[in-house]
């Protein structure tokens, strides 16, 4: 087995192990909570985790293979300094991207192990921290961001104490993103992904923010199972929500350039996000009321929704775009847009379910108070989008691009007709 194949196999196994890690952690948490842990319950949980983890592991393997097929030959020929430089150069902004090959070509001429490491380390430092543009504008934006964090601390301390951690992390992240955008704007310009996508992304984040603030003001605590005053948005959940919202807003306003050119992927992403959230609302309003009280809850939709929407949608996007990339980017847009919209729909439905006397949106359990839905609305949609919908999207994209790959392989194999 040559070096490229050996490295490809090792990297693929590492990718599969990485994909399996969250499921192993979830299994460990569940098994720990089953007190005392009967062997058959632990085995049941393990089987469920294996079932839900299989798409993620298969997707990780396929994604690694697709990437290694393109870059493996080149990367396997590199030594340590070459890997260091290649990894650092991959982070260069698009407008500075040509400096990566320039440095790599120079490194190829450097002789001696120590000299190569020294040269690669210097180049890596430049690639990771390239000269910044607009020093004054960056400083002003950074100062404004710090001011906004201080203002958020004062305001939430006085008016919304339950939302202090959330506000601080969100304002801090948005300030950091704004400073980064100003620092890179000299070369990059404004790369908007189109009004439909930007509008939907902004609307989702704004609506989610508004409902979160409403919950924090009106339902900051609820009657928990063990205690009477469980906090609706504990600090870890607040951090996760803030990171998700800032990330989605950043993607909607200023996505990386490599996500932009594929119009097919953008439109499929919008359609899948709307379908996923529409399906959630329809299920919550029309299907759930018909079930007996014990069988209510939206957990089932989190499993079936991505299967019905993301898997075929990504496959179709890949087939129409005739590439794996189109399907992957469509899935990425769908997940980024659907995350704030699903949280919003969950929180809005929770208010309705509370009015009509149903329990928590997740599983119909209750009554505990509406506040219990806030943490559920953050964790469950994000968990299922990341660990279930994304792997299904990758599998769909791989399936959709299969015909295009076969056609390309056939064209390469057939002799070129000569005149």
């Amino acid at each position: 087995m040559n070096r490229a194949r050996r490295l490809g196999l090792v990297g693929g196994l590492a990718a599969v192990a990485l994909a399996a890690t969250p499921f192993a952690c979830l299994w460990a948490l569940q098994a720990r909570d089953a007190e005392p842990p009967p062997a058959n319950v632990v085995l049941d949980i393990a089987i469920w985790m294996a079932v839900f983890g299989s798409p993620a592991m298969l997707a990780a393997w396929l994604l690694w293979r697709a990437w290694w097929r393109q870059a493996g030959e080149r990367l396997s020929a590199l030594d340590g300094p070459g890997w260091l430089l290649a990894a650092a150069a991959a982070t260069l902004p698009a407008e500075r991207r040509h400096w990566g090959p320039a440095m790599a070509a120079e490194l190829a001429q450097v002789q001696g192990r120590a000299a190569r490491w020294r040269f690669a380390a210097g180049c890596a430092r430049t690639a990771l921290f390239p000269p910044r543009a607009g020093g004054a504008a960056v400083s002003v934006t950074g100062a404004l961001a710090v001011g906004a964090i201080a203002a958020a601390a004062v305001l939430t301390g006085a008016a919304l104490p339950a939302g202090r951690a959330f506000a601080l992390v969100l304002v801090g992240l948005l300030g950091g993103l704004a400073t980064l955008a100003v620092a890179r704007s000299r070369w990059a310009g404004w790369t908007a992904p189109g009004p439909a996508l930007t509008g939907l992304g902004q609307a989702g984040v704004t609506a989610c923010l508004a409902l979160t603030v409403y919950y924090l003001a009106e339902h900051p605590a609820y009657g928990g199972v063990d205690r009477a005053d469980a906090v609706s948005l504990p600090p870890p959940t607040a951090v996760v929500l803030a990171v998700a919202l800032a990330g989605c807003l950043g993607l909607a306003l200023r996505p990386p350039r490599w996500l932009l050119p594929d119009r097919t992927a953008r439109w499929f992403g919008i359609a899948m996000a709307v379908a996923l959230v529409g399906g959630f609302l329809l299920d919550a309003r029309l299907v759930q009321p018909g079930r007996d009280p014990g069988g209510q809850g939206m957990m089932g939709y989190l499993v079936s929704g991505p299967l019905l929407v993301i898997l075929p949608g990504s496959a179709l996007a890949a087939a129409v775009g005739r590439s794996l990339r189109s399907g992957l980017w469509a899935c990425a847009w769908a997940v980024a847009l659907a995350a704030p919209l699903l949280i919003t729909a969950w929180l809005a439905e929770a208010l309705h379910w509370d009015q009509v006397g149903r329990g928590a949106v997740l599983d119909g359990a209750g009554p505990m108070g509406v506040g219990v839905n806030l943490a559920d609305a953050v964790w469950w949609p994000l968990l299922f989008l990341a660990l279930w919908a994304v792997p299904l999207g990758i599998l769909g994209a791989a399936a959709g691009s299969w015909r295009a790959r076969r056609r390309r392989a056939r064209r390469r194999a057939s002799p070129v007709p000569t005149a």
């Binding site: 070509a105 120079e106 190829a108 001429q109 020294r118 210097g122 180049c123 430049t126 000269p131």
Partner: protein
């Protein structure tokens, strides 16, 4: 008349080195060795000079199949003007050593 911000010490060294033979294309590693500069200091200078239109860049042509084409650098017209101005300036005074490391000598009398 062109106006430039005064470049840093390292940028000055790079501009003056490139101005020695302004028509000749230079390589990055060659400049590193010649000026005894680390790559981490040279490449930011090259990027800034290129951003300001003082440096012209090109890719090496006629490269053997087993070698990557190298990036080449030389000064543009404004870059040469800057080089001329920097060359005409009096040499900068050496930076004083930090107090702790400075060797303190007794004042010496004239003629001793």
């Amino acid at each position: 008349m062109l106006s430039f911000r005064h470049p840093s010490e390292q940028a000055t060294a790079v501009v003056l080195a490139l101005a020695e033979e302004p028509a000749t294309w230079r390589y990055g590693y060659e400049l590193c060795q010649r000026l005894d500069l680390q790559a981490g200091r040279l490449y930011p200078v090259l990027m800034r000079l290129a951003d300001r239109g003082l440096l012209e860049t090109a890719w090496e042509s006629d490269v053997p199949a087993d070698r990557l084409p190298r990036h080449l650098y030389r000064l543009t017209g404004p870059g040469r003007v800057l080089a001329g101005r920097l060359a005409a300036e009096p040499p900068a005074r050496p930076t004083p050593a930090p107090v702790a490391g400075r060797i303190r000598r007794r004042p010496r009398l004239e003629g001793t």
